[in-house]
Symmetry: none
Subunit: 142 residues, 2 copies
Amino acid sequence: MSYSQTIIANLRQRGYRITSQRELIIRAIAQGDLHLSAEDVLGELQEQTQAINLATIYRTLEMLWAEGFVYRNDLSEGKTVYTTLDHGPHAHLVCRKCKRVIDAAPEILQQLHEQALIRYAFEVDLAHLSLFGLCAACKDLV
Amino acid sequence: MSYSQTIIANLRQRGYRITSQRELIIRAIAQGDLHLSAEDVLGELQEQTQAINLATIYRTLEMLWAEGFVYRNDLSEGKTVYTTLDHGPHAHLVCRKCKRVIDAAPEILQQLHEQALIRYAFEVDLAHLSLFGLCAACKDLV
DNA sequence: GTGATTGCAAATCCTTTGCAATCTG
DNA sequence: CAGATTGCAAAGGATTTGCAATCAC
């Protein structure tokens, strides 16, 4: 069973009605490794000539988040982006000067994850990570 | 020298002009351990009957962040908050269930810091990093 | 059928911007 | 004095909301 189907089955079980809109939105967000904003989802769906109202997308994403099926991240770009839970862990390196966002490989988080577990029995949520700092270009300007 | 004075001296050195508005904003944000939004800062200043335009506060906070004097958190819903912390670098492990905050030793971030530099030439801000996840107690409940 | 969900448009909220007036160095 | 910074008001962009129409169960 694909992840989007898992989500749908669970939602039905919890009493939510599965409309064609919800199905499309869930499929869009569950398929990729991307971080999608509400507007991104709209874009994805419009490519398939499936017109859906933005407000519906906002409502659905909010619902999926509240129900625990997607993560919600604010990348300092002014808009909220969502990802599914099976999206592999990785960090966002957000430059505080030029606002560029670099997706970093998950390996750089390994030791942090291990050490937090060993020292504090704390399980760091790797898919939630946004790290601020300075990118190469901006660092050199200082 | 107080931390706000340190900031001011540094800014002057970097060619910024120190206006009364900037001084007030810096004092407001440097004084507490709180996370303040632009509007919060306005509130603080209005208590002292110091009227400052919100746009100025936004511009100043943005500048202070870009220059590395304040930390910025976009994790809370809706609006951006800022903080200064003059004490040593450390990570906050924030449990997303019970909201408990564990202060972690900076060493657990070492490899992450190094790897981000090596792979992406990205300098991660180590101080006042907030990492979300599950603490020991809450992990066992799941 | 009935209550949940959608679409639409207007409303809100946070943040940014253009520009003339005002200050700092 | 020159250029940086402010205030103001208007613009901008993301997100939310009220309400009638529509759809899932």
